[in-house]
Amino acid sequence: MLEVKSLQVSYGAINALDGISLSVKPGAIVTLIGSNGAGKTTTLKAISGLLRTQAGSIAYDGQDITNLPPHQIVKLGISHVPEGRMIFANLTVHENLMMGAYLQKDRHVIHGELELVFATFPRLKERGKQIAGTLSGGEQQMLAIGRALMGKPKFLMLDEPSLGLAPLLVKTIFEKIVEINHQHGITILLVEQNANLAFEISQYGYVLETGRIILQNESKLLRQNPQVRSAYLGA
């Protein structure tokens, strides 16, 4: 579904990504772990078109999407829940969700998506008219994911959905991610610092270190890898 080949991204003279390659198969949950500054967020931003790449290619469903502007990439069915949620704090919850369906013109489809999002996150329905900035952290994360689902994506990228949330909420969010994958059939690329949880729900994983992929394998095997265990699983 997604093929990234030898991707290079730099901020000025600093190489953030030094030729990484990864692939995501349809229907899978794939995770990308790594410490701060490893290049996880940069990878997602390059895929969704927020950052320009210097070299390498990104293909989605066989189509080259390298350096397309973000609004054209969204149109192809790629949704990106950015780091820090980036909800529109000045808009209502409902308006946020409607922004998620910005490219969808058919009212019936939008309504159907809204029902699906509310079925996944009933809390958002209660909060419809509330200004999004007044939501709690967990609700904001639900809104960020719900907003991304409004675009009817086939491929969803999540950037640290557990960041800053209480452990119980993290568990809920991860259950929802699995639910979105199973019930909606949406392929997921998950970036996480919480490697334990990420390996638990994913089938395949990549370990990123200072702009390079140093390890990749099935998640259950990565969990047993001594190097991963000492560096990321706190064992």
């Binding site: 950015p82 980036m86 529109f88 000045n90 308006e95 409607m98 922004m99 910005y102 490219l103």
Partner: protein, 303 residues
């Protein structure tokens, strides 16, 4: 007492015009975080568009008629919307990722370019021109107050445009996108919003309002010249800051307030020459106590 209300009416009339221009400054600031100093010149171009359109429209519609005046207004707004979008496309878009100071200086350059090009003999010439009377002129006497048609038109048009703007910004999809872009451009792009198109739309909308302000100003003051946007544009900018830059109701409020304050200041015997000084002094006082403006919220810079 009647003098007080007369001054209030006069002040609100000029204030409404400041409000229309201030909205354009504040909308552009809300999205791009820079002051479009060429905005006052778009106001001037709106007045000149009205000047040249009026005789053309009068071939189809009677002179000094409400229908004719409305057509002139709408056409001038459309022309200036295009000019505003063109300015953004040619001057500001290539500098989108440059430091804000670069864009700000460019805006001053664009402003000077428009002002001095328009003063050239091959363009509008520097001398003031008499603005045609677009609508039938009547003075109404209400008690001791005098109210003329042009002032009423200023109030009615401004109200209609403010309502229309509110509907566009609050209720439509493109308005929601404008608010989303102003809050977080990257997040809006991830929703599929074409940022360039929204910025272009914002410039068009603000410039159309400035053009309306230009026509209304010209109707009330009868004389137009290529530098008329300098002083008025500066005041409208101050009005936008006074109301809280980036805040739409704030711009409208700031405009009205500035108009009223300067009119009253001008009415003080012996001090009328210090009108602008007094008006700006009041503004400095207000900003001392509310640095973010009347309706603005203080935002801490992210580092």
């Amino acid at each position: 007492m009647s003098e007080f209300f007369q001054q209030l009416i006069n002040g609100l009339a000029i204030g409404a015009i400041y409000a229309l221009i201030a909205l354009g400054y504040t909308m552009v600031y809300g999205i791009l975080r820079f002051i479009n100093f060429a905005h006052g010149d778009v106001f001037m171009l709106g007045a000149f568009a009205g000047y040249f359109l009026s005789p053309v429209v009068n071939r189809f519609l009677p002179a000094q008629s409400y229908a004719g005046g409305a057509v002139v207004l709408v056409l001038a707004m459309a022309i200036c919307a295009l000019i505003g979008m063109l300015i953004e496309f040619l001057a500001y878009r290539p500098l989108r990722n440059r430091p804000k100071l670069t864009v700000l200086i460019t805006a001053i350059g664009v402003s000077l370019f428009i002002e001095y090009t328009c003063q050239h003999d091959a363009v509008f010439k520097a001398a003031p021109r008499k603005f045609p009377e677009l609508i039938p002129f009547t003075n109404w006497h209400l008690g001791g107050l005098v109210l003329n048609t042009n002032q009423v038109i200023v109030f009615v048009t401004t109200m209609l445009l403010l309502v229309a703007l509110t509907v566009v910004v609050q209720k439509t999809k493109v308005g929601t996108a404008m608010r989303a872009v102003s809050f977080n451009e990257q997040a809006a792009a991830l929703m599929g919003v074409n940022i360039n198109r929204i910025i272009s739309f914002t410039f068009g909308l603000g410039s159309a309002l400035a053009a309306a302000g230009g026509i209304l100003f010209a109707m009330n003051y009868a004389s137009i010249d290529p530098l008329m946007g300098v002083q008025t544009g500066l005041k409208a900018f101050v009005a936008a800051v006074l109301g809280g830059i980036g805040n739409l109701p704030g711009a409208a409020l700031g405009g009205l307030l500035l108009g009223v304050v300067e009119t009253f200041a001008g009415g003080i015997p012996g001090l009328s020459n210090y009108r602008d000084g007094i008006a700006f002094g009041v503004l400095i006082l207000i900003l001392l106590f509310r640095p973010a403006g009347l309706l603005g919220k203080l935002q801490t810079e992210k580092v």
